[in-house]
Symmetry: C2
């Protein structure tokens, strides 16, 4: 697999936006405080990450595909807590 | 500009994840309730969207570039409120 500068930027971007959902997921699991979290946001966002995943695969953009598999999992967890504890 | 199926999926994905930050931004501005929002998340996420923007431009992926300009603006607003009202 060839790693060029463009892909490196993509992987750094993927790392930033993917890893960013980890502290949110941990915070939500620990505190169950979902009052400040928007249900509409996480519903749309979770669906959006699924579409990004399909786009990443069909456009052969590995950073986009990998980032959105992981983000989809985190976003689903947060969405699940929001629905359960709203 | 040629619009193919792959790009349509990309634009739908861009729409979903971008628009999703609007209800969160509105909710945060109206309620100033940022207790459930993770500061680490939004710091990393805002930086990540900047990198995605650069990746979108350098990899000639217009959906990625457009989505991340708008998401960057929304994420910055939410981050600003989190820092101000934490």
């Amino acid at each position: 697999m060839k790693i060029d500068t463009v892909s490196i930027i993509g992987y750094l971007a993927a790392f930033g936006t993917t890893v960013s959902f980890l502290p949110q997921a941990i915070k939500t699991i620990q505190t169950k405080d979902t009052s400040g979290i928007s249900l509409s946001m996480y519903t749309l966002f979770t669906l959006g990450t699924l579409l990004w995943l399909i786009y990443g695969i069909t456009s052969h953009s590995l950073p986009v595909a990998i980032a959105n598999v992981i983000t989809f999992i985190f976003a689903s967890i947060i969405l699940g807590y929001k629905i359960r504890y709203k």
